[in-house]
């Protein structure tokens, strides 16, 4: 795209961000009651919905069952209205298949599949609006959904894209920046260990630059992790708050260090101090079981 200046002399991008800045991220967990786990994420104008079922018995041909670990089945689809021009087929095309495979690869690396041999975990992701970085949004949404389902994972998987323009690495590309045709890299990271679950790029980039683009993507992924972590904590707090209402009393209020009073769950990431702690050890057991079970056990406690 000639004439479009992706990075101004003052260092601002077309949408007013600086090179390393992410778009605004908003997320919610547990959006559907039917599914075992579900989440919705908005990264700028990219919006994705993820749903997780399982672990359950292998559906269809039994032959697919793996003796030592769970089968992760990922399906990606993108709404016909997600892009500027209306799409013909919402799923099943080449791009969707490829994206499904990539997601599968990503989550096989993150989910502790050996805990559930001979079973299957389904992850369905749908993109409602595409404005660049669909893979990253899908991974982030799916991570939240998997956490919501209570499936044990090594760590969060946080993904972000990065590009390279005029000697500068840009994090979290928007559609305009992607369409300009520069190199683009997608990275899925396990932030605690710094391990890479998936790294994908199909463009020519000089190896001297790769390091910088990779670092930009990794930093962005770490930033995403901080945000997702907060979403999870807030979700937990809401659940507990909900139970307190149900049960009347007996549960401690949400840890104030983890929550900003007055913040709606639309989740602004503006201004406030970010909890720097690793995922707090208490959150996993609380989430491992679906809410109704928590309620059940809670009543058992009572």
């Amino acid at each position: 795209m000639a004439g479009l200046e992706l990075l101004s002399d003052q260092g601002y991008r077309v949408d007013g961000r600086r090179a390393g800045e992410l778009r605004k991220i908003q997320a919610r967990m547990g959006v559907f009651a039917q599914a075992d786990g579900s989440a919705y994420i908005e990264q700028g104008n990219t919006k994705a919905l993820a749903v997780v079922y399982g672990p359950h018995e292998i559906r269809g041909s039994r032959a697919r069952a793996l003796p030592d670990r769970a089968l992760v089945n990922c399906q990606y689809s993108s709404a016909t209205f997600s892009t500027g021009e209306r799409k013909r087929r919402p799923h099943g095309d080449r791009k969707s298949c490829e994206m499904g495979l990539q997601l599968r690869q990503t989550f096989e690396a993150a989910i502790l599949t050996q805990l559930h041999p001979r079973s299957q975990i389904d992850i369905y992701v749908q993109v409602l609006q595409a404005d660049g970085g669909t893979y990253a949004a899908c991974v982030n949404a799916a991570t939240l959904a998997v956490l919501d389902a209570g499936i044990p994972m090594r760590d969060f998987v946080c993904a972000c894209s990065a590009g390279f323009v005029d000697g500068t690495a840009l994090a979290d590309l928007s559609h305009v920046e992607e369409a300009a045709g520069g190199p683009q890299l997608a990275l899925a990271l396990l932030p605690a260990s710094g391990q890479i679950a998936l790294l994908e790029m199909d463009a020519r980039l000089h190896e001297d630059h790769l390091e910088r683009v990779l670092e930009a993507a990794a930093q962005a992924a770490r930033d995403v992790h901080t945000l997702l972590d907060r979403v999870v904590r807030q979700h937990r707090a809401e659940l507990r708050g909900g139970h307190r209402l149900v049960l009347g009393a007996g549960f401690p209020a949400a840890d104030p260090a983890h929550l900003h009073v007055g913040e709606r769950h639309g989740l602004h990431h503006g201004g406030g101090a970010v909890c720097g702690r690793r995922p707090c050890p208490g959150f996993c057991p609380g989430l491992r079981r679906p809410p109704q079970e928590v309620g059940g056990s809670a009543s058992g406690l009572a």
Binding site: Q10, G11, D15, E21, R23, K24, N45, S174, H206
Partner: protein
């Protein structure tokens, strides 16, 4: 940190598309004023001055910043205002991205109005902000706009606003600034004669539509040097027909200036014209002679054969102006006390420019720089304003400056940033430097260069190996070792592209420390080199090629003459001499083989000045002499270049920097073939080889100089050789050298192309690491484009410098008569070459105030019949050479015919002892 606002943007036609964009408004953009507590260090760009120095404006006494609006900024940027008083330009442009000053487009408001409003909001914000900053310090932001409505609105909103003119006039300390103000004021136009001369330019949108649909053609406007009423437009794109369109007459040129990108409309075939061969210069002083010009225009349209007609068009609009500041002189107006004067640019392709100045008397007789501001429809000349005074006409420094500026040669001293990347002195070769490097200090290497050469970039050696074969080495200064990719030194040399050699001056591409010391392969010191070493048999067939970075120690720096002497003298048998003899022997075989393949030997008259050592005035002219050793060095350089070209292309097929020389189209040779035919010689031009052969055979026993003349003419037929990136082109052939592939490797001190080639080769042999830009073919193509431009400009500057020194030479020498040969025949003139001085000049036969002699021009032969004498190409004539100072701007060598004598045309032979004024008058009559 981020606030976001999402809004829907427009839909695009052609399959309705909804575009959703978001835009983040920032709250962290500082005001740029240092010491502002509210913004802190949030501002990263160029900061404002803490206390703007008071420019003593009468309209605004307290210290203030200026905030110009977009139009003022675009048009007045050259006005030399104190930089500190400008409010940070960047801040005014980016403020719309800031939270406080974000302005949304209102309904019914167009983009320009919104922009104006945004700037007003910014100015208001600045004023409030600065007030907050410190109450006692009366800093203010003044809004400068030339738009009346905008100013009114601003004052309504309580922003101090002035027009540019009001403000500059109020600057009591600098009255001369008003001269530099670009005149855009509307009143200015009213004084002009109300008559509209030119048709209106179409708006860009219409032009683009027209270009898309094919009714208009887009191209680069090139004014003719010889005729101010004529120009050609080179159409962009690859369509073969209508590549070049002729424009004739002021109205059709329609205010286009040389180098502009214009849109032209083709005229119907009935109005097509042929390029006139008349030489015409714009002489008129006042505006009223538009009618007279129409007369001259009619004169141009002489009847010509149908075949000669070329596509003709007219300019309908300007797509992009390519105006730059022009050098030239003031032609003072005849009217006393007048403030309007015409400015005559040195470049004849640029029209004269009307400027307004009060210092006309001081500027008279000086070289000045003027910028064009605009060209209204009712004005014969464009309007401009004075920028800078360069100095007195005729002064050597001024003239050199002018020719450097006119040819866009970067000649400022190297900046500190550039110099900081030079190696620290004293410099010596360290262990680290020796990595990946071969020690060749034991070899008997010597360099052969012209006398007085300080930037020696090549050295040679030749020795016999034990197996009876010969080892030949070409060692090139390792400039890429010192110029590391991407730093300021590298960028500056890439920008300069080439060293420019003027007659008495050298404009270096790299700082002198490198060019004349560390990189120069001087004798008896250790120097880093890039070596290309071949093993050859005695038949000069290459058996093995090796490239390596090396350290060498040259044993001797010879001149061509010294080297020749050594080879010729029988009693010298030292290592250097045997080495030279071996090289010479091989070079002869190589040359023979090359010529057999069809390489051309062309000729161009080159001169060398003998300078007076004190005044630096030229005291003698000498045509350059060619010795065997010249061609010896040349052969090995060619061989090295070809070997390297093959290697880098093998290694980097997509991004090797190569040099090609396209074969000229057959039509280029017409002049040569016709000229030769008039002498009963046949020149075959179908291939380079047949051309070379027929040139060799074209000899006349009675006319020994004929062959050289033919070769000179052949050189003029050639195309320009160019650099290119191998991934962007598939024709690599070098026509002149008859080589399938070629590059430049051997002069990295004076050519940037060689530096890139060195880097490529170093990566290819694993001696250096690669870097991103090197493997980016688009970046490489950009570099090639710049290099080609710089090389062309350097060549022109060189020629201009020679021309200037020739003038100085003839100024001191007085009037001389010399033998000359006719090179070209024109409609009203002949172009002659004087072999003794290698000087070319035009003899005119038509004058304004005298009855024209009867001229009959025949394009087919080509010949020109004047009265009873016929002139053919290659005829020997005698001309008188003198310096014409009647036009101070273009002092030139004037030539007039002495022999053959034609009554009323030629001048008598015995004028040489007349006093200086006598012949001058005569010559002035003869001129034009």
């Amino acid at each position: 940190m981020l606030k976001s606002k999402t809004f829907l943007k427009k839909t695009r036609a052609g399959g309705v598309m909804k575009i959703v964009r978001e835009h983040y408004l920032r709250d962290d953009i500082g005001c740029g004023a240092p010491g502002c507590a509210a913004c802190g260090g949030a501002h990263e760009g160029p900061a404002l001055e803490p206390q703007p120095q008071d420019p003593a404006s009468s309209v605004c006494p307290q210290p203030h910043y200026l905030l110009p609006d977009t139009n003022v900024l675009l048009h007045q940027i050259v006005s030399a205002w104190r930089p500190g008083t400008w409010a940070s330009v960047a801040s005014s442009l980016r403020l719309p991205g800031s939270l406080e000053t974000y302005v949304e487009q209102e309904q019914g408001e167009n983009a320009n109005d919104r922009n104006d409003r945004a700037i007003r909001v910014a100015a208001k914000w600045y004023n409030e902000h600065l007030k907050k900053m410190s109450a006692d310090n009366q800093l203010q932001v003044i809004f400068i706009t030339n738009d009346r409505r905008n100013k009114e609105k601003a004052i309504e909103e309580g922003i101090p606003a002035f027009t540019c003119e009001e403000y500059v006039k109020s600057l009591t300390a600098n009255p001369e600034l008003i001269d530099r103000l670009a005149c855009l004021s509307e009143e200015g136009n009213e004084i002009e004669s109300g008559k509209i001369i030119f048709s209106e330019h179409l708006p860009l949108s219409k032009l683009q539509q027209g270009i898309k649909s094919g009714t208009y053609l887009q191209g680069t406007f090139r004014a003719s040097r010889e005729n101010y009423l004529e120009a050609t437009v080179w159409i962009h794109g690859d369509n073969e027909e209508n590549k070049e369109i002729i424009l004739q007459g002021l109205k059709h040129l329609n205010r286009a200036v040389h180098e502009d990108i214009v849109a032209v409309e083709l005229l119907p075939k009935s109005q097509w014209v042929a390029p006139s061969s008349v030489v015409l210069h714009d002489e008129g002083q006042n505006e009223e002679d538009v009618e007279k010009e129409e007369e001259t225009e009619r004169m141009l349209k002489t009847a010509v054969s149908e075949k000669m007609l070329k596509p003709t068009g007219r300019v309908v609009g300007i797509i992009k102006r390519n105006w730059r500041p022009y050098c030239g002189m003031l032609s003072k107006s005849d009217i006393k006390e007048s403030r309007r004067h015409l400015f005559t640019p040195a470049d004849k392709r640029i029209p004269r420019i009307r400027i307004e100045t009060r210092q006309a008397s001081t500027l008279e007789g000086r070289r000045i720089i003027v910028a064009i501001d605009g060209w209204p429809r009712n004005s014969r000349y464009p309007n401009g304003h004075f920028v800078r005074n360069l100095g007195d006409v005729g002064e050597k420094e001024t003239e050199t400056e002018v020719l450097l500026l006119e040819h866009d040669v970067p000649h400022q001293p190297f900046s500190q940033a550039v110099l900081s990347f030079l190696p620290k002195m004293p410099w010596s070769i360290t262990e680290k430097d020796m990595k990946n490097r071969e020690d060749l200090r034991h070899l008997c290497i010597c360099s052969v260069d012209p006398p007085g050469c300080t930037d020696i970039d090549d050295a040679l050696h030749c020795r016999e190996l034990e197996n009876g074969n010969l080892e030949v080495g070409v060692h090139i200064a390792d400039v890429s070792h010192f110029i590391r990719p991407g730093n300021a030194l590298d960028q500056e040399s890439a920008r300069r592209g080439t060293t420019v050699y003027l007659c008495e001056k050298r404009i270096d591409m790299v700082p002198e420390l490198l060019s004349s010391n560390l990189c120069s392969l001087k004798c008896d010191v250790d120097r880093l080199a890039f070596s290309c070493i071949w093993e050859m048999n005695h038949n000069a067939e290459i058996l093995k090629t090796k490239f390596t970075k090396s350290v060498i120690n040259s044993k001797a720096s010879l001149t061509y003459a010294e080297a020749q002497l050594r080879i010729d003298s029988a009693n010298m048998n030292d290592d250097i001499t045997t080495s030279l003899r071996g090289l010479n022997k091989l070079a002869k075989i190589l040359k023979k083989r090359r010529i057999e393949k069809g390489a051309l030997t062309l000729s161009s008259p080159e001169v060398r000045f003998h300078m007076d050592s004190e005044t630096h005035d030229p005291i003698d002219l000498q045509t350059k002499e060619l010795r065997e050793t010249n061609s010896m060095v040349e052969e090995f350089m060619l061989l090295a270049n070809i070997s390297v070209a093959k290697k880098i292309h093998e290694e980097f097929s997509e991004h090797a920097l190569l040099r090609k020389h396209p074969a000229p189209p057959p039509s280029n040779y017409e002049i040569l073939v016709k000229a030769a035919r008039s002498r009963n010689l046949e020149i075959k031009t179908d291939t380079a080889k047949s051309l070379a052969e027929s040139l060799d055979q074209a000899e006349s026993p009675t006319f020994p100089y004929l062959n050289t003349l033919l070769r000179i003419l052949a050189t003029r037929c050639m195309m320009q050789a160019v650099y290119f990136c191998s991934g962007m082109d598939n024709d690599f052939h070098h026509y002149g050298l008859a080589s399938p592939i070629y590059t430049h490797f051997t002069s990295p001190i004076r050519r940037y192309a060689d530096v890139i080639v060195h880097r490529l080769l170093a990566v290819a042999i694993g001696a250096d690491c690669t870097y991103p830009e090197l493997t980016d073919k688009h970046k490489l193509a950009d570099i090639c484009k710049n290099l080609n431009f710089r090389h062309k400009m350097a060549q022109y500057a060189q020629r201009a410098s020679v021309a200037f020194h020739t003038q100085l030479f003839f100024k001191s020498k007085g009037i001389v008569s010399e033998e000359a040969y006719i090179l070209f025949v024109r409609k009203n003139a002949i172009v002659v070459l004087i072999p003794k001085y290698g000087l070319e000049g035009t003899v005119f036969f038509e004058e304004k105030d005298k009855p024209n002699p009867q001229l009959i021009y025949d394009d087919e032969i080509p010949s020109l019949k004047i009265e009873d004498t016929v002139f053919h190409v290659f005829d020997k004539v005698k001309v008188k050479i003198m310096l014409d100072s009647s036009n101070l701007q273009h002092q030139k060598i004037r030539m007039s015919l002495v022999e053959p004598q034609i009554p009323g045309i030629s001048i008598p032979t015995d004028t040489s002892n007349m006093d200086l004024n006598g012949p001058k008058k005569k010559k002035m009559k003869l001129g034009k």
